[in-house]
Every structure is written in C-alpha cells, then in structure tokens.
Symmetry: C3
Subunit: 274 residues, 3 copies
C-alpha cells in the first residue's frame, strides 16, 4: 500500500500524537528526522499535550482524531513510559491508514475497531541511523521509520511479521447496560471543561429527550441539540464531536463547576424510571 498510496494521493501525510509537550524540542527533533528521510512529507500535530505517561489518555485522544485523517496517512503515536525496556515497536495498517507506535496498548482503539493488517515488529537495527537513544525512540525509531515509509519504502523491510492477536491492548472503558439505562464514564475533559463520555449517540436514538443524565454534580433531564440550546452559564448535555454524549456548560466549564474529570461515572436513565 505504501508507495502506491503515496503516488496515488500526492504528498505523504504524517500525523503525530505524543505526550512530549511544547516546552522542549522533542517534537521538533522528530520532525527533523522525518524530513531528513522524506523531504516531501506534510507533518501535522494531533496533540502533544497528552498527559505524561498515560497510555489510556493517549489512546482516547488518538481515537477521537483518526477519523479526520486522509486516506493513507501515517500516524506516529508516542506515549511510551516503557521506552528503552523490552516493549516492541509496532507498524501496522488499518482502515486505510498506517500506524507506528510502541506496543503498549496506545493503539488499542484502532486495533479493536480496525482489524490491523500487515502487523510488524519494527527492528531498528535495520533502519536506524547512529546510536539509538534509550530514552527517545520517538526520534530514533518511530519518526525514523515513519519518514522511511513515507518516502515509499515497503514497511516489510523495517521489521518482522507479527500476529495481530499478539498486539498489546489496554481496556478502553465501555458503558454497561443496566435497568432502564447505561452506566458510562468520562473519557476526556477538553480545554473548555466539556466532558466527552463513552456513551454513544445511538443510545438516544429512540427516547431522545426522555432521559436523566447525572455525573458528579452535573444533572440534566434532557438531551439538547447544541450549546446554544441553553442560556450562557447553564448545563447542557448534547452529542459531542466524537458522536458520544457530552456534558458541558454553555460558555463555561462543566469540569470546574461540577468537579467532572476523566473517569467520572456517568449515569444515563430513561426518565420513566424516576
């Protein structure tokens, strides 16, 4: 798929997601290495502020973003507390995109949804340049591999085949079906203090409005269509950009107002229960 995809679609796109932050030059170093391998690549940032060392948070951010990427995009994801240890470095393809990451569960949402194909354990000895740092595989392994694949080298040259069922996974929280409702949880609290939950939009397909929704101090009895459906400062439940239930305060912060954080329990009930 590699070289075909690149020539079919124009310039290769590489999307980065890390917990490296912005205060250091780590992300810049990754980009320098990618461009050293493939001068034509277009590199975009998904986020680099994923919480440090938190593989689940990285997996959830990745899950929110990948649907927006172009066909053939190469996703390099690095939240890698085990760097320098014995966790594997991965390459696989799924849903028309290519993924490069540590084998620590960071790609769990992709693996579950996407039926990976062409799984490889990357062998840095085959493609690295100079010393491989024991603390920064983002630069010396993952970015390097991404740049090489971007310029059209067959990924198979970079490692050895791996069975998809051998990939590491972490549990992505899913809601539980209970009497007259669902018990879910908050996955991501965004910049605005809006809470993205794991309760899918489809849960509201039938009884759109006849519900009660509770999470920490947040309590509403209706699903609205938009922030603008309520007055500024009022709580509002609506469908998020991830197509899940979102809890918000219009032009305010639901997180600050109601003490909501990632992992907070969300209780959805049909209102007839009350």
């Amino acid at each position: 798929m590699n070289s075909e995809s690149a020539s079919r679609s124009g310039r290769p796109v590489i999307a980065l997601l890390t917990d490296f932050g912005h205060q250091d030059t780590f992300v810049g170093q990754m980009k320098g290495v990618i461009l050293s391998e493939c001068r034509e690549a277009t590199i975009i940032d998904l986020t680099h502020e994923s919480p440090p060392h938190n593989v689940l948070a990285g997996a959830l951010h990745l899950s929110a973003a990948i649907g927006s990427l172009p066909d053939g995009a190469i996703v390099v994801a690095v939240v890698d507390p085990g760097v320098g240890g014995d966790r594997r470095a991965l390459y696989f393809e799924a849903g028309g995109r290519r993924y490069i990451a540590p084998d620590n569960g960071l790609l769990s949402a992709v693996i579950v949804d996407g039926s990976p194909t062409r799984c490889l354990e990357l062998d840095p000895g085959r493609f690295s340049v100079g010393i491989i740092s024991r603390t920064f595989h983002g630069r010396d392994v993952f970015a390097r591999a991404a740049g090489i694949v971007a310029r059209g080298v067959d990924a198979a040259e970079l490692g050895t085949a791996l069975a998809p069922q051998d990939l590491a996974r972490i549990d992505i929280p899913v809601p539980a079906l209970v009497d007259h409702g669902l018990d879910g949880e908050v996955l991501i609290v965004d910049r605005y203090g809006n809470a993205m939950t794991n309760i899918p939009a489809e849960s509201f397909a039938i009884t759109r409005n006849a519900v009660s929704i509770e999470c920490e101090g947040f309590r509403v009895s209706e699903l609205m269509s938009a922030y603008a459906s309520v007055s500024a400062g009022q709580p509002v439940a609506l469908i998020s950009s991830m197509n899940t239930l979102e809890l918000a305060v219009r032009e305010g912060s639901a997180a600050n107002r109601y003490g909501i954080r990632p992992g907070s329990s969300v209780r959805l009930r049909q209102r007839t229960e009350q």
Copy 2:
C-alpha cells in the same frame, strides 16, 4: 480568484486561528480534514490559545496577524460560542486574502479595513461529508470548506451570496480624542507581559517625546524607540509590532508589575498639559 491565485502563487496557504488550545486534538482534526480535501495545502497556525469564547480577543489577534500572510492565503478563524445555533458560516475575500469563519463578529477588523467582496453564507449541505457535528463546525464546516477552496473549487459553489453590510460586527475599541491627548485602551497583553494598545503610532508623529503616558500603575513621560533604550527592569513605551503604542518593562512584565490587562485604560497626553 481561487484557482487562478493557487496556480499563480504555488501551493495554497491556509492559516488557522482558534480558541481550541493545544491539549486536545481539535486543531489536528481540522488539519486532517483540510489535507483530505487538498493534499498540497501548507497549513500554518496563527494562534490556538485565543481566550475561550472571547470573540473580541480573537478578532484582535487576527487583526495583528493577517498583514503578514501571503497573497491569496485562506484564513480560517474559529472562536465560535454560538456553534450549532443559528449564526451563519461565512466566506469572503478582502485585501487579496480569503476568510472562512462564523458570522459572529470575529472578522470585524477585516470587514472594517478590507471592504469584503464575494461574501457568501456557506451552506454545509452542499459540501460536508458525513454527519455535521453540532459542536465542531471548525472541523465539519470551516476546515472542510477551506480545503475545498484550496484545491481550486470556486467558492460560489459552497454557498449563497450575502450582502457585505449584513455581516455581523463587534466594536473594536478605538481611542477617543480628548483635550491635549487620547484616551485609549489595552487590546492584547502578550506572552512577555507587554501591552499592545489601540493608540496608533501616528499619534506621535508631531510631538514624539513631549507626552505623558499612563495605564494602571504604569507611568512614563517619553516615547522611546526600543526596549534597549532603557535599562533592564525599567518601564518603556514604544511603538509595537502592530504599529501602535506598546507599554512594556524591559526584560520584565508590564502586566505583572503594573496590573495591566486587556481593557485597561490608557491615557496619552501632550506634556504641556501638566
């Protein structure tokens, strides 16, 4: 202008300004959508740390930045507290650049200065892909439209004509002429704690030095030519990169030292008044 401009000038440039911040993948999702439509686009960030929900602040940041953009650039600006409500989505051209944004006043400085032409209300039904989120038009409407225009589609295909005088505007604060001076205000406090005011450089054309300048606890009696005109730690008034009066402390923070913030009143007087 679209396809002509693109072919005349080389690769299309898209400049983004939002209040989406960096902790989430919102900006990354916008970039993914743009590149899905136009693989050749070069995307740059103006800022994504514009204060949340603050349309005036976004308008001021935009005003500071657009003069540096190349001819034909497509500016996508999203500070959009009314997302999902009934505010319109806009496209227009002004000063050789193209603008895509919610119709909430965010482009007020451009409208006032630039005499918009080819104004359109974007009709997402004509060009969107899949479900349009009610919370994230930045991705599903504005980025999508930008990518389509960038690859050379005539913007007229994306919406219906709108009269320029119907565009929403907010008041951009302007200084008031008073006896022997001007009363202005602070528009932006930057990363260093320097305060950009709305008092134009031209105010100093005649009596460059014979002035007094006051703002909160800040007080100087001279306009200097550079930070380096005073010693480290000293207050200094000079002409900003926006070509307006700026209040600073050399290698320090005027904002922290003197309690200056956006909206603080600035009093400029000819010194003969004292």
Copy 3:
C-alpha cells in the same frame, strides 16, 4: 550552497526556535512572512516555549535539536532581549546547515562545535519590506531573510561579510574535572521533570557502574541503561537523548521530587572515592 542545496534536496526546510510562546500570533506572523517569500518552504517548530529573554536556555535547546535536522536546513532562532538596539543580525553556515539569529550568543553552541563559514551581518535595508518594527525582528528581519534564502537567493546579497571570531558568544557550561570525578550542572529540565546535565556519556566509558551521582536531593550509585531499569517512582541516572547524563524518576518528576532546576550542580564520583 543555497540554491544548489535546495535543488539537490527538494523543498527547503526552515526550523524555528523562539521564546515567543503560543498565546500570541508572533510565530504565525513569522510563518506568514516566510511563505510570502517562499511558498514551497516546509516550516517546523523546534520550540517556542524557550524561557523568555533567556539566551542561554535558547542556546541549549538549539544545541539539543540541531543534530536531527536535515542537511541544508535553515535554522531561525530568536531569543532577542536586545531587539531594536545595536546587536547585529547574523547569517552563517555550519555543519551543512544555515543559521539566522541575533548576534547575542544564542548560536554559541553551534559556533563552538561547527566552525561557521560564510558569516554575514544581515543588512535589513537590502531586503526588508515596509517598516521594520523595533520590537519584532523575528518577523521583519529574521523570517524575511530566511524566506529569501529559502527560495534560492544567495545569502551574500543580504548583508556584509563578518569574521567568525567576531561573533558574540556566551559561555555554555562545561563540567570540571576533579579528583575521581566531574562537577557538572543541569542544563535543561524537560516537560517530565527529567534533568539533562552537561556531563557527557563518554565519562562513563570505563567505569560504567562504579559511580556515585548527586544533584540536590537526588542520589544514586549506578548508571542504568533505561527508565525501565528501575521501578516506577524510583530515581534513575541514565544517558539522555543528548548523549549526556540524565537524572530522572521513572514515571515521575525528578525536578519536583528533588528540587532540581537548570543550573543545579551535579557531582559525579567514581565510587572508589567513598
């Protein structure tokens, strides 16, 4: 080297390092100017969160990053407390890369390691467009020059020759050899709270493990190979991605735990001393 390098290697790469932060549009304005001069440039960010006005910190960040940049890359570095004063604006080439920066020592690590050639004092009068702001040479001088050089103009047209020995330098701290060891210091504390020191990896070539390492409250008696060599929460000394001694806490912050900050003294001793 300019036009040859560009044509030899494909699209020009420009890497930016500043203390401009992300809250303002300063970096976006620089990118707009670069693309106005050279639509084909690929621009990457090394970091923009270098501590304000701190030339040494910028020099150290630059030193960490440049080794990852592609051949021919143009580095634009701006930590410039003397902007608008009489410090020179520089262009030079070293190690196959091109550098544009204020002449204030920001490029000291490059100068020491790289034997600059083709040193020039940039003369903005030859190439600037419109008024040159006295507060923002990053946009009006350095970005402008970078874009012009990127599109293949010979740098010699932008200024006058300068002798390499006349370039401003600041002292980059180097470790001192003492009885049975080295006294070094912490250069950078990264996002995770890991401390990068100036003690080179080669110091451990012989007696890899027979050491004691102390810095503020941090104390270990062994150099490990990776974070994963110790349990979560434990202190660990290892070789950093800069190929120097790094002090860390696995999945924690050495800076917070032990009070380590840039400039903290690091004491390395052969253990036989004890």
